[in-house]
């Protein structure tokens, strides 16, 4: 837990908050904080800040928070992921929040088993707890927006442009891609919408649907990766590329 996240309703008007849950356990058992100690905190979907340990009452910790004026910027990558097996998805929530994604859209696809959608890992209470765990690990405050889509085609046709305007870069890793994603990045906007397919891949029909909705195929090399490996690797890669491109555009990079 590298950042202790406070929810917006928790602090009183003077920024005072009483914690008695896993956060208090962490503050006492791992950080060994005593009154007067300053801790790094964040307001969920808000700014980061500092908190002073005012008082420790048994297992409860009373903090007085002072938040900064600016909210961290949203990660550059949004993700459309064909819903993996619940066991895999369970592990991915925190990893995705830690890596940084603005949006997680979980979709059906031809090669996704229908019963995956009945899993408890898709319940908001379950995934929000895991997303918050990932944010606290990474030191971010912005909870990814989550949407669960049971039909891919109507989503692409009716909802995609509203959620992710056409001027962003829509990407899909596929062996048919002629370019690496770095090449596509150099001539594009920084915001990225990445589609990652199911274990067995997208069907030809689905690939054509993505292409018709502006997705560019890029080649991530000849190795065939499992969904969980691919999605972690690709989100990391795209966030780094977006960061590098932003630095270059702002004149701060050393890339030629």
């Amino acid at each position: 837990m590298n950042l202790i996240l406070i929810q917006s309703g928790e602090p009183d008007s003077e920024g005072r908050v009483r914690l008695g849950d896993a956060r208090a356990e962490h503050i006492l058992g791992v950080l060994h904080a005593t009154p007067g100690k300053s801790l790094r905190v964040g307001l969920l979907n808000g700014p980061c800040g500092c908190a002073l340990v005012e008082e420790i009452c048994g297992r409860d910790v009373i903090l007085r928070c002072d938040f900064e004026a600016t909210v961290p910027s949203r990660p550059a990558v949004d993700l459309l992921l064909a819903l993996p097996r619940p066991k895999v998805m369970k592990r991915l929530w925190a990893q995705l929040a830690a890596l940084g994604v603005g949006r997680i859209i979980l979709t059906n696809a031809e090669k996704v088993e229908r019963f995956y959608f009945d899993s408890h890992v898709l319940e908001p209470d379950f995934y929000n707890a895991h997303l918050i765990e990932g944010l606290q690990q990474a030191g971010d405050t912005l909870l990814p927006d989550v949407q669960i889509v049971r039909q891919l085609k109507p989503f692409l046709e009716d909802d995609l442009d509203g959620l992710f305007p056409m001027h962003g870069t829509r990407l899909l890793a596929d062996p048919s891609g002629k370019e690496g994603c770095g090449d596509i990045f150099q001539r594009s906007e920084n915001r990225v919408f990445l589609a990652v397919g199911p274990e067995g891949g997208w069907t030809q029909y689905e690939l054509e649907l993505f292409a018709a909705h502006g997705f560019q195929m890029f080649n991530a090399g000849p190795r065939i990766l499992r969904t969980d490996t691919a999605v972690v690797g690709l989100v990391m890669l795209l966030n780094q590329l977006a960061h590098t491109c932003a630095c270059v555009k702002n004149g701060r990079g050393s890339r030629e």
Copy 2:
């Protein structure tokens, strides 16, 4: 299983091999292969090739293999990893082999618990099975070299230069890094030796030891990732950068 791996002692002088294990189950149960069908195979640490299903005897499958002349090239990344918790390491073996690493060196460090080294996940029979699973997923034949190092300092002082010559790029992700790894790549050799620290990070003493042995610190952004997320993301990122740089140097890339 996107490639069926055959071990060097298995085929007879005519390239015939009889399989009765999980590979046969996959060929019959997933690929639904019948005699005459051609399959993609690979020779462990050797070339890829084709195999003809000659005969099916109960649960056994007899293949006749015809291997290509050239062996796939070794992945560009070697990895030095501070040994993570056994539960995490168990999952990482197959992921690392799938992503592609030439060498996996697991090391002790100040913040690694000593008892991790007693785990069965460090036994060759255990990890080789998982590495082969990863290779069969990714479609590669080259088993990563594995070495387990119980003392970091003598390894860096006595063994590192022999295993990984100084003209390669030695990298370590650390918030103190001024550049991204893409910047370092542009003026370096393609072969990379990446050091990834334990959950609590390297100590200052360890960081100085790495710096004294030619490791360049790079900045992978402000987010603090768990070991398993970081190592998967960084290996993917570095393999892609190495691939892009190799393309540019061979005049095949479109990067400016």
